[in-house]
Amino acid sequence: MSLTRDPRQAASPPPAGAREPRRTPRRRERQGPAYVFLSPWILGVVLLTLAPMAVSLYLSFTDYNLFDAPKWVGLRNYTDMFFEDPRYWRSVGTTLIFVVVAVPLKLALALGVAMLLKNMRSGKGFYRSAFYAPSLLGASMSIALVWRALYNDGGTVDDLLSRIGIHTGGWVADPDLSVFVVALLAVWQFGAPMVIFLAGLQQIPGDLYEAAALDGAGRWRQFVSVTLPMLSPVLFFNLVLETIQSFQVFTPAFAISGGKGGPADSTMFYTLYLYERGFSASHMGYASAMAWALLLGIGAVTVVLFRTSRSWVFYANEGA
């Protein structure tokens, strides 16, 4: 049994046991039922994924406002985006800052707390559930509104910091700090990766730690030499998933800025700008180009992550 279920492994065909060659010829004649079961999914893939992606690619080379026929403009949307539109780059920058701050913080906290809970004998289930709850609530508009109020001028955070002599004012209204309000909301939801870490930690064989202890490894050494390598596939899975999701953050940015991306475009996240261009300003062609740039950007980041993973992700070849 493999420790991980990382996307790369999942993408390959199922393990050998699932495929029994002797049965293949007989089954091949009866593929009908399989396609009946698959038909909703296939319809969805064709009508709601593949065709829209193709259309979106086409639209990205046009001027389209939803009412008049699309007008072919070649690469103009892309050149406008990359060379003429400072707001575009601002949104890229904001989103990147958010990803680079929120994802590592969230994962570090998730791993730290998972380590904390790992050896707990009573109350572990309770804490696991309790820490997980923000992951479900945090995506809501309600919590985003709470966040806006907590980080407002004179709000709880401002008040707490003032008491220890740090006067920041409201983070929400400060163009340098507003992105961190969204980032901290993401960090608050560390429970989901924590649950995955915890499940991963429980699959590390205990005798590895015993062997390490016999060799004189202390707690930190055990963490670095046993836990981290054994957990690296899970860490990688979480890293990829969180990174991809973070690029698409929308609701909190919308709530915190009143849907405007302010102040001074500092919370104009990529998706919010895409929404603004496409649905408020009716530049569907431009927004399609943005969507494709996002898709390619996320694809590129994912490829880079997979490339680097070869040097730090350790796939245990255990026979269990």
């Binding site: 199922p14 969805g44 709601l48 707990m120 820490f131 479900l136 508009m141 969507a291």
Partner: protein, 292 residues
């Protein structure tokens, strides 16, 4: 975690272990406190009188202002909260139905049936889990616009009946692969075709994964904001999430009490679902990253 290892350490340093255990609990309790603070704040603020929201930094209100809730129940722009909740419920229930049906059907094919290009299709399905929604957003909008379905619930619910949320297909596939094949073999020998076998043997056994799918779908579509924002315009069709958006545009803080009262109301179903089914949710989350 092997209990033997814990036991050994325990006999070795009983007092040190006890101190460590207390420290662990203290740390966990402290984290819990920080995590819960925003929720407690939300609940407290939803009951604060208007004049205390701004002037008083005390967490607890001096008196409970229940009128915030009656104001909230009146809803937004003439639409009552009961209507908003019904609308949200309608969308969530439709989504649950769609996901459970379509995802379990596709999952059964991937987990148990043989067909050409299964590996490729499965790989593609997994890849769509990572596809940013925005890549298909605008064309989907155009399609639904052409079909005259904008400002109806169809764009929100219909895709769920076509298994577009691959995460759940994957989740159910993983679960079905763990089921013993003997029962299906027996059913096959008794003359059960794949449909009978799916319905009478596999589906009942898949119940936990289906429950996980149902609850996640419910919560995610309840929380969904982006899709609803794009497709719904008529305030009569608004969901509770969209109604909260109206508060976003208002910068005046006098509406704080009612706004957060409505927030509490909107979170209640999630909290209740979580309390009732947290085992399935946590388990489902854990198996999404690991083979269970």
């Amino acid at each position: 975690m092997s209990t033997a290892a814990i036991g050994k350490r325990n006999t070795r340093t009983r007092t040190g272990d006890r101190a460590r255990r207390i420290a662990l609990h203290l740390a966990a309790a402290l984290i819990l406190l920080v995590l819960l603070y925003p929720l407690v704040w939300l609940l407290a603020t939803s009951l604060k009188p208007a004049d205390e929201v701004l002037t008083s930094l005390k967490l607890l209100p001096s008196r409970l202002e229940w009128s915030n809730y009656s104001t909230a129940l009146d809803g937004v722009s003439g639409v009552k909260v009961s209507t908003l909740l019904t609308n949200s419920l309608l969308i969530s229930a439709g989504s649950v139905l769609g996901n459970v049906i379509s995802c379990s059907l596709a999952a059964y094919a991937f987990a148990r049936l043989r067909f050409r290009m299964r590996g490729v299709m499965f790989g593609f399905m997994v890849a769509t889990m990572m596809l940013p929604h925005h890549a298909v957003l605008i064309p989907q909008y155009i399609i639904f616009n052409q079909l005259g379905m904008v400002d109806t619930y169809w764009p929100l619910v219909l895709p769920k009946f076509l298994a577009t949320e691959a995460f759940f297909v994957f989740l159910i596939v993983q679960f079905m692969r763990g089921l013993p094949r003997e029962l299906e073999e027996a059913a096959r020998i008794d003359g059960c075709g794949p449909f009978r076998s799916f319905w009478s043997v596999v589906l009942p056994l898949t119940r936990p994964a289906l429950i996980t799918t149902a609850i996640f779908t419910f919560i995610w579509s309840w929380n969904d904001f982006f899709t609803q924002l794009i497709y719904l315009f008529d305030p009569e069709k608004f969901t509770i999430t969209l109604a909260l958006r109206n508060f976003v545009d208002q910068s005046s803080q006098s509406a704080f009490g009612p706004m957060f009262a409505m927030s509490v109301i909107s979170l209640l179903p999630i909290v209740l679902f979580f309390a009732a089914f947290q085992r399935y949710l946590v388990q489902g989350m854990a198996t999404s990253g690991l083979k269970g």
